[in-house]
Subunit: 246 residues, 2 copies
């Protein structure tokens, strides 16, 4: 498998489609605002030259908090969870990474968190040295990465706000909304697929598994969503938005 495919597969952000607002325009969605959009095809070839395609089975670990950060990853498919573990077993999920996201770019010596595969995952792995060398020669790539970093910053700010000042219900609503935006699933009628377990969600939102479950049930009872196997369907768009906004 060539790396070109994986690079081309970089996920779209929520930027408007340059063609038209047709959500079926897959080619466009995939390329819009992704890192590869910053590169010409000969530059993509350079990226390709230093990339290694690797796969991880669900629950396998990409790296641990304590590992030295030697590699940069670009996720091609699947979902990754980033987390920190306490000695006493408490866990906090820092974030989830989706196809197109980069891991390990920002921090120099160590990651500061562990990462493992929620579902089966395939990634492009770059040696940090090589990647940084390329980065230095490609200011456009650098800029694109900067933009991604800004997005992540924003997400973490939202998470801080949620954990600090929002109720369980508001956190869940935020989570669903956010998941919907990031995966841009476009599945049928408000359906949002949730690839991670309740425990993962709980550890992301600073709640317990029971509270997550109860809160979903409560939202369902109110008719805001319906809980389906492997995900959720949003029934009251407006209401969930209200809750998510705090």
């Amino acid at each position: 498998m060539t790396v070109h495919r994986s690079v081309a597969n970089l996920r779209a952000s929520s930027v408007a489609c340059p063609h038209r607002a047709d959500s079926r325009c897959e080619e466009c969605k995939v390329r819009a605002s992704s890192v590869c959009a910053a590169l010409r095809s000969d530059e993509l070839a350079e990226l390709e030259a230093i990339a290694h395609q690797v796969s991880f089975a669900a629950k396998e670990s990409l790296f641990l908090e304590s590992d030295k950060a030697r590699d940069v990853f670009n996720i091609t498919s699947g979902v990754v969870r980033l987390y920190r573990l306490f000695r006493d077993g408490r866990r906090q999920v820092i974030g989830f990474s989706f196809p197109g996201d980069f891991l390990g770019v920002q921090l120099s010596t160590d990651h500061g968190f562990s990462a493992d595969a929620v579902s089966d995952v395939s990634v492009c792995r770059f040696a940090k040295r090589d990647f940084e060398a390329l980065l230095a020669r490609k200011p456009l790539l650098m800029e694109a990465l900067h933009g991604r970093a800004a997005t992540i910053m924003r997400l973490m700010q939202d998470q801080v706000v949620s954990l600090g000042r929002r109720s369980a219900e508001e956190r869940m609503a935020w989570f669903i909304t956010q998941l919907r935006e990031r995966t841009a699933l476009g599945g049928a009628e408000g359906s949002v697929s949730i690839p991670m377990s309740r425990q993962d969600i709980a550890d992301y939102l600073g709640l317990t598994i029971e509270t997550v479950s109860r809160t979903l049930s409560a939202l369902a009872k109110r008719g805001v969503i319906s809980v389906e196997p492997g995900g959720v369907r949003v029934l009251k768009e407006g209401l969930i938005g209200e809750l998510a906004a705090g």
Copy 2:
């Protein structure tokens, strides 16, 4: 007042002193690992050329969440609080900025949060256009800024972990520890100055003002700290570290 002074005033991070581990070595502490260390003096002059010295009285606002991000700030003295406000009055403090810290570098269109002065504050203000132009010509400056961004990322991760999975007591211990490291006050025997109000601390840690107060009292009763006007004195180094680590 020349800008040169303010640039030279950039705060040290916790990097080791290149001379020797003499905490009195002020000149060294000030320059070590700060952004200006990445620049030669002729380059500093270039920074100086595009900077405007501005002051804010305590409680004045540097910018609001809704403002377009037109400027980059480098704090020269004082403390700034970054926060997001809900319609219903809830507030979450995202972070505090200290002398040497930059504001507004990362995000393109808007800041995503409001910023105002905790104490009287003076800053170097740069027009974003100018600053970015300079950045493009000074890869070393860019790199130094990257390092700072990484530090902030790490801090926000710690905050997420604290808000998500730590008790009030652990959060307070973390806050004190963190404040001590960042301000590197070196004041007498474990004394940590706390320039912000209890309300600010509460909104940073996702607690109420009463819980912050009670928790401090409890720590004092246990002899871990003593509460002094304008700050706190750490009495049991080890214990507070334990708590802070979770």
